[in-house]
Symmetry: C2
Subunit: 227 residues, 2 copies
Amino acid sequence: MTSKKVVELFYDVVSPYSWLGFEVMCRYRHVWNIELKLRPAFLGGIMQGSGNKPPGMVPNKFMYMTNDLHRLAGYFNVPLQFPADPFEAMFKKGSLSAMRFVAAVQEREKGGDKQVEQVSRELWRRIWSEDKDITEPASLSEAGMKAGLSDSEIKEALALYNSKEIKEKLKSATKEALDYGAFGFPMIVCHVNGKPEMFFGSDRFELMAHCIGEKWLGPQPHSAVKL
Amino acid sequence: MTSKKVVELFYDVVSPYSWLGFEVMCRYRHVWNIELKLRPAFLGGIMQGSGNKPPGMVPNKFMYMTNDLHRLAGYFNVPLQFPADPFEAMFKKGSLSAMRFVAAVQEREKGGDKQVEQVSRELWRRIWSEDKDITEPASLSEAGMKAGLSDSEIKEALALYNSKEIKEKLKSATKEALDYGAFGFPMIVCHVNGKPEMFFGSDRFELMAHCIGEKWLGPQPHSAVKL
């Protein structure tokens, strides 16, 4: 018997705020009494399904987000940097193959989610830190290697990620997020007394802690614990 | 000589997140070493000037905001409740006369901003707690009374609020916010070492504290101090 609260994190590596939320939740899974479920999904499908528009389309909002993300990256200790052409990276190239690759890694992985976590992180590092491609098989393969997957594991994921099964898996996770009411990512769903409590974005952790009966120690809880 | 950091709070009583930000900043002006400047402005002008759209237009976002505001109101201890017809209250009736009234009260008030603070709060209470009108002179007058203004002070503000001078004053505050890069409210501008640091919304207080060298004690700092 466990009293761990289930917390689902819906994310897409195309979304920089998702990276911040992902790192915070990966830190807190070892601090709070929660069972974190990584839910890779497709942000493009969320925007289309909810009728939402990317926030960067309003010039003042885009300028603010650039500065906001820069400040938050420092405060959260996540090495986030804007690519030279964020619109090209986010909207022209997008993340559909990258997220299918993550879904394939998740499909294959047994007994945990270390590989999904690491592959997601390496894909974020490529697009949101090193301004590298995340659409080509060679890019996915490189991210897999950095994440510590074996050659055969990468080969299997690459053989799988364009299959009907994986396309459906990603579509179904995206639909689940929409059904919870998502209109963007990250979307964190905390299951509290049988009721889903949704938190959008990477700025509700203090409120989330309050709702699940835990303590918020800032975005870097381990340094807080050490102090 | 004072080392108080100047913090400008741009707001409009039509905006529920602004109410949360307003109450938090009014609490922290007595906790942090800051000089809080209340900057009533017109959100309609910000949306038009920045090309932004109200977030409530996306159904999933509207549903989320309803729940998010309800949770935050409890956590922040602000008696916020949705009006029966929020679209009617926010978009059809709007806040232009209310914000001109606040600007007129500010224009008249000497030696402090207690009246501006109280009148703003009473207007928020009307629209975002008691589902009452904020467009008619009688409504503004009632808010003024609750805020502790004398009959002659209310009369003067009502004689002033439709004047060219006050219209220009509100327009100019709105333009200043746009020039800082606003695309919505609340927008909080912290002047740190001669540089304006902007914070949009009511979910960046922890980061703001970090940026101005203060400590975040949660949305109810006085109970935190008492503990």
